[in-house]
């Protein structure tokens, strides 16, 4: 499944961040996934346990935050919660809505341990 490719892409980004931050180890990765991203969190978790081996995130935890689906009606302007296969307006019933959240596939934050000699002082 494509979750493995997505995991590998994610780990590439995590490696870059770890290097930039002079981190020796990544302890936690937080991602935000919308139900309409096409990615199944459980499958991503499974893929992660395979993909993380040998990487800087080898012992990291992957946490996924599922985002909710929200649409804005282009006819009446209402904003509604919606379901994956029912994205119509909850007020007027029109199908011409715009997705305002629910399809994200985002790396949100990475927790890491700095290398000891770096004297990890956040200077920003």
């Amino acid at each position: 499944m494509h979750e493995l490719s997505i995991c590998q892409a994610m780990l590439t980004q995590v490696e870059e961040i770890a290097q930039r931050e002079h981190a020796s180890q990544v302890t936690r990765i937080l991602i935000r996934i919308g139900p309409l991203s096409g990615v199944v969190p459980e499958l991503l978790q499974q893929a992660f346990t395979i993909a993380r081996a040998g990487s800087v995130a080898a012992s990291a935890e992957l946490e996924t935050e599922l985002q909710s689906i929200r649409v804005r009606c282009q006819q009446c302007g209402a904003e509604c919660d919606a379901e994956t296969n029912r994205l119509i307006c909850c007020e007027c019933g029109d199908f011409r809505t715009q997705l305002i959240s629910g399809d994200e596939l985002l790396l949100a934050s990475v927790e890491l341990t700095r290398e000891p000699e770096e004297e990890g002082t956040g200077d920003d």
Binding site: H2, I17, D103, L105, L106, S109
Partner: protein
């Protein structure tokens, strides 16, 4: 490359970065780095570059997605036969294993590059880029990309195409748009294929299928089509003509377009790299 360009920030998630600083120290002494970038950043960037290639060569690129056997190659064969005199076409074929589809296209006198993905169930922007370098884009008006037969994975990967076609054959059932919303939401045109078989099926309701597509907030045309008896081809080819025309108009103004699956954030990014 450009993790500060804001290319993944949309109305829906903007608040997430506006609250709080970039670094936060946790109790146990480790550091949390706020990132907020698309997991498929690298693919999206490659896709944007592919799109620049297409635009520079003034061609229209269309990605075809469906489950295995819904009729993607057959649609291309019939389309090529009908409009070969009008347009110069090329095809990139994605398949897990064989060269069969590319050979079918070549038999129609059209250049086809086969990408065999092995275990990967979708094409990605890097594979397309590689294939592009085996083609002479200057000699094309339309480039079709036939994605790997799969109703799930291809929808997540932008290839740099301008438009997406999602095919649903009548033998698959009218509930598929509701079961696979991501790929149908990505469609700029939904083709319900093998309409000649409808007479033999008593449980495929075309209106229900279209309704299920509308429920996904998709305004794209839904066309019933048969590569066997030609039904719907007039509508499909008229639409294609319009799209070629629109692409020419966009290019005259130095603009481009992204397929439906790309969210607002990518549009923002397309602007900032120009």
């Amino acid at each position: 490359m450009c993790d500060t360009c804001g290319c993944n920030i949309t109305d829906g998630n903007r608040h997430l970065i506006e609250e709080g600083g970039k670094h936060a120290h946790t109790d146990d002494g480790s550091v949390a780095v706020e990132v907020l970038q698309n997991l498929l950043n690298a693919n999206d960037h490659q896709a944007a570059h592919n799109r620049e290639h297409f635009d520079r060569h003034q061609l229209l690129t269309i990605n075809l997605m469906s489950s295995p056997g819904s009729g993607k190659t057959r649609l291309l064969e019939t389309t090529i036969d009908t409009i070969k005199k009008r347009y110069r076409m090329g095809v990139i074929e994605g398949d897990l294993e064989t060269e069969n589809d590319a050979q079918r296209i070549r038999q129609k006198g059209v250049e086809a590059v086969q990408i065999t993905t092995g275990t990967a169930c979708h094409l990605d922007a890097h594979m397309i880029h590689h294939a592009l370098h085996q083609m002479n884009l200057d000699e094309l008006d339309i480039l079709f990309i036939e994605n790997v037969g799969n109703l799930v994975c291809p929808a997540s990967f932008d290839l740099g195409q301008h438009l997406n076609i999602t095919l649903l054959s009548v033998t698959e059932g009218d509930d598929k748009p509701a079961k696979y919303p991501v790929i149908f939401r990505a469609a700029d045109h939904v083709l319900i294929t093998k309409s000649d078989l409808l007479v033999m099926l008593d449980d495929f309701n075309t209106e229900k299928a279209e309704q299920a597509v509308r429920h996904l907030a998709v305004e794209a045309p839904v066309t019933l089509i048969s590569a066997k008896n030609g039904e719907g081809f007039e509508t499909w080819l008229t639409w294609l003509d319009e799209q070629v025309q629109k692409q020419a108009e966009r290019r005259a103004k130095g603009e481009t377009t992204n397929p439906k699956l790309q969210t607002e954030g990518i549009h923002m990014h397309a602007q900032d790299t120009r």
